[in-house]
Subunit: 341 residues, 4 copies
């Protein structure tokens, strides 16, 4: 597999630091070569103890640093477009955290830029595709034994939302995971979306529409419903049930240790996505490093990032208008063969 892959990490915040830890300690065959963050002091702290890492205020400088063979974008969403285009200019393979680009117009520009290159350089960070349970479900559905999928029932719950979380973010930040997962599991595009608003929980911040109930339609007539509830108070729960013509399959109720005491029989519920999906993040990074070192680009594509962004925008409009809203995608460039792959 040749050389160890030198990675420039853009962004040294929560997610960036987590990825730096993975590259430095968990993923063999890769190392952190450069880090860019406007807050260079923070970046210095994050890489303390790692050898051979240069720290930069500017993304471009990190991309041009010696030893950089690939880019991991973990900066805030608004900086993604410029970083992606800069990587494309340099022919550098990229792993870009979600959202690929916050608005669909920018996402389209990125799509067109990569299409012009004529080859894939970017993988988008939809890490659920690397979760063992999701992969088992995907493989079951692809195997065909359950027949055609008719419905996906999804649950996405968080203990509480961070400060500044808006009603639209339940769609474009939280449900965006289900948007990608549904497209990938079903191998179909989403064509319309309706958002229903039950009474908001008194546990949610004043003014936040939480929970919401989102219903997507797909190009071949399946329904995808998502309960998103970001202030449920009790845990981080991600579940998915696929209802097919010949049976149903359900993930996300995994149980491990059952403790029985005076209060009954009890199982822990994960409190955090970094816990629930820790293995998925590891596997995602490992897969990206392995593929990159082999000169390949796999995983969720820029088309997937673009489609997720268009669907999320339609979802936000559906939330605001209370109406069923259709999803209008640009024609798919030939570079991106199969939907959701």
């Amino acid at each position: 597999m040749g050389e160890v892959l030198g990675v420039a990490v853009l962004g040294a915040g929560h997610m960036g630091a987590d990825h730096i830890r993975r590259l430095a300690h968990l993923v063999s065959g890769a190392r952190v070569a450069a880090v860019a963050d406007p807050d260079t002091e923070r970046a210095q702290e994050v890489v303390a103890g790692l050898d051979g890492v240069s720290v930069h205020a500017e993304a471009a400088a990190a991309l041009d640093a010696p030893g950089v063979g690939a880019v991991l974008i973990a900066s805030p969403g608004p900086a993604h477009e410029e970083a992606l285009l800069a990587a494309f200019d340099r022919g550098l393979p990229v792993l870009c955290e979600k959202p690929m680009v916050p608005d669909s117009t920018g996402a389209l520009r990125v799509l067109e830029a990569e299409a012009r290159l004529g080859r894939r350089l970017a993988q988008i960070g939809f890490m659920r595709r690397y979760d063992a349970e999701y992969q088992r479900l995907k493989s079951l559905l692809d195997g065909g034994g359950l027949g055609r999928p008719l419905m996906l029932h999804c649950t996405h719950r968080n203990v509480s939302s961070p400060p500044g979380f808006t009603s639209a973010m339940l769609i474009d930040s939280s449900v965006s995971h289900e948007i990608d997962a549904a497209r990938w599991l079903l191998g179909q595009e989403l064509t319309a979306v309706t958002v229903l608003r039950p009474a908001s929980s008194s546990g949610a911040p004043q003014g936040l529409a939480d929970p919401q109930f989102v219903v997507f339609e797909t190009e071949r007539g399946a329904l995808v419903d998502v309960e998103v509830f970001v202030n449920c108070g009790f845990g981080y729960q991600v579940r998915c049930e696929a209802v097919c013509e010949a049976g149903s399959a359900r993930i996300g109720d995994e149980h491990t240790m059952v403790v029985t005491t005076r209060g009954g029989a009890r199982e822990d519920v994960a409190q955090d996505y970094l816990v629930r999906f820790a293995d998925a993040y590891d596997r995602e990074l490992r897969a990206w490093v392995d593929a990159t070192r082999r000169g390949r680009v796999t995983g969720p594509s820029v088309w997937d990032g673009y489609a997720a962004s268009v669907v999320a925008e339609a979802g936000v409009r559906a939330l605001e208008t209370g109406r069923r809203t259709t999803v209008e995608l640009a024609p798919r460039p030939g570079l991106y063969a199969t939907p959701g792959r």
Copy 2:
């Protein structure tokens, strides 16, 4: 508790025969006194071996038979209105199988008739209220420990639909159980309904819209979604998850014996509602007999039967038009205090 209760059973079909068996063999304090069915031969067969039962072609004749102190209506839906009014005329307590009356106009006439009597005589056969799991969920919600309910996610699946089952019957025959259960669990009226139609299963008869996905709104802003799938092929599954401000509770995944063999770990799935809800039917009948012998009427009321019928009609319109449809109830007579009780 005095006398054994003599019951006139109207209808000796599948459900009628089952209730006759219960009254004869399982429920103490009651006996079958008379049976009416146009097919008197069949009725004779059903009561063979039981002492002191008179068989009649006409419902009225059964009501007037000697020893009759109460009526159980298990005839086809279109015969219910006349039978209920006849029981009211004679002051006889009634247990009426669902649907109370197939159309809401007839249901309203029954409601007005009982309201004119000024006292309850009829209990409607929504037997889920007598299921141990539903009762546990109801008691948990009423206890308030989980806070205000925000959503109910419901599943209602049958192995296959009987001949002649129409797309509308998924709503007014199958989902009618969830309509009552939701009203009862939440203690709220349903105010609007939307029906979504995923692609129909190839396992469903040609032309039947199956599955359907029905979303109800309630007077205090809760959402109730129901997957109804009457040709799912694998079993009879009824599940309900209540999502509240401080937690969620789920019933219907009950497991019993786990068998592990070369194929994996397996649990049986009930194939039939008479199996899944056998205990609920027993408990319902026992509760009705006990209350009746004490001179009381409890359980689901004529108002519940009326409301279920209005909501179901709105649901069928929503299915046909593809539009969100509001539910318009007549004013509630004082006789029927609390919704869903």
Copy 3:
């Protein structure tokens, strides 16, 4: 089925009162005709509100009371032998609570008395045979699909033991249920027993050997191990896993409602055997009344009661000596064909 069965209930304590309630209110075709208890005042209270019940201080007087066609023995164990023999003298069918007779010598006398009659009159109250889960397991094992049973792993836990409960009673009162269940499930006699004593729980009364771990061997080489823990503190748990040549099957982990709150996902654990086995008691009594009215005797036999008593005595010796102890049964009279049936 003819006449309503008039039952003389001997003993109006906890269990007697419970059975009186069942006969009066739950089981059709039977009524309480007479009750005997040395504490006639208590007996009067228990039958208050029931018509046509005579109350007696002496068991014999109750057996001879008018309208008595069968006997239910729920008096303390030491009174059982005399009551059974009195019922045999009068040719009355009996349901006798466990233990049939506390010591195996007395049990043998009852066995010989019934064998002399040449027909079965008594059914012994091993109610687990009427539990739905046990019946499912029995039917699975009898079906042969899992092959020959090699081991049964059993758990028997109570929240706390009643005052006066001795170390021997963990065997002859608690484990006696597993003794019968194992004989019945496997269709084999138990041939030896070893009792292991882990450190006693600090939650158990001073001096009580609790928990104990009991291992039985059967005539065809299966092993049956039982954890008995009568001061486990958290609930009443009865579990059984049958390990067979081609798979395993497990009952007793039944779950119903799952409640998820800040503390995790939780299920209730039954606190009491009257709750856990309520349906089994109902079914047992109903089966006994039905069979008796048909002139039949089914269910656990006097041989089963005798064998349970011999095995329990061997178990107590094994506990006291710390040694593997063999079980020596008298020859089986022809009246009792199949073991454990």
Copy 4:
């Protein structure tokens, strides 16, 4: 963390090859520097595509190869003692697969050799200590919330045994995992063992005593029972329930995807320990590499390897004699502070 750790892997069989794959592709901070196997051709194949690995027929030559900073022993058990002593001579940190040394006399020699060094060099490959579920159970028990442990109920099942598997190997190869897990979970030495032999399964090879039921006693009076069944036919199942004074905790029934089809609700059962414990092996190797690079030795010690070997030998004697057999350990050298840590 400085230099990448160069590892000499002794043995290129099934387990050796698996560890070579882990070191090469999964564990950052380590690389395979040398491999020794009498079958050098096979060793060459296993390391094909890896850079900088020297291949040797002799273990000693691999230990002396350039770049070697640590040793992983995955050769057959009889070769372990010599390899461990050779590593001690060279002051090289070792990870030694279980069994540490097949016989307790040899194990004692290794123990004494390391004790003479006065510092730990070796970690023994009891990988269950690195399994997430076992770690959760350990941490729960150590937390003390459930009170003192009284019993461990363990299950260890394999689909089928490899050719040449003997009755003694059910104890010293299979149950040896439970021996270590019990010592570690309880923090107590095992003091006696009894082996019970149910009828052997017709699915087991002729003459193999399979299943067996093994009961251990611990120094503070806990009981540990193990069902070991290496030809159960259906899967690889490892379960453990800890019964404590204030509650119980159970691992090994983990479920993931539930698939419901015409045959019921089904979950897969792992078929292989490399699948079930894949993460544990990864975590074990990562922990070893990390500690070694920090100059530390953690994980199961030579004392643990020695104790497991003494207990297993007592178990084999108990199997052969049918008698309770006590466990006699040599005095514990001061180097090995706490039991099972």
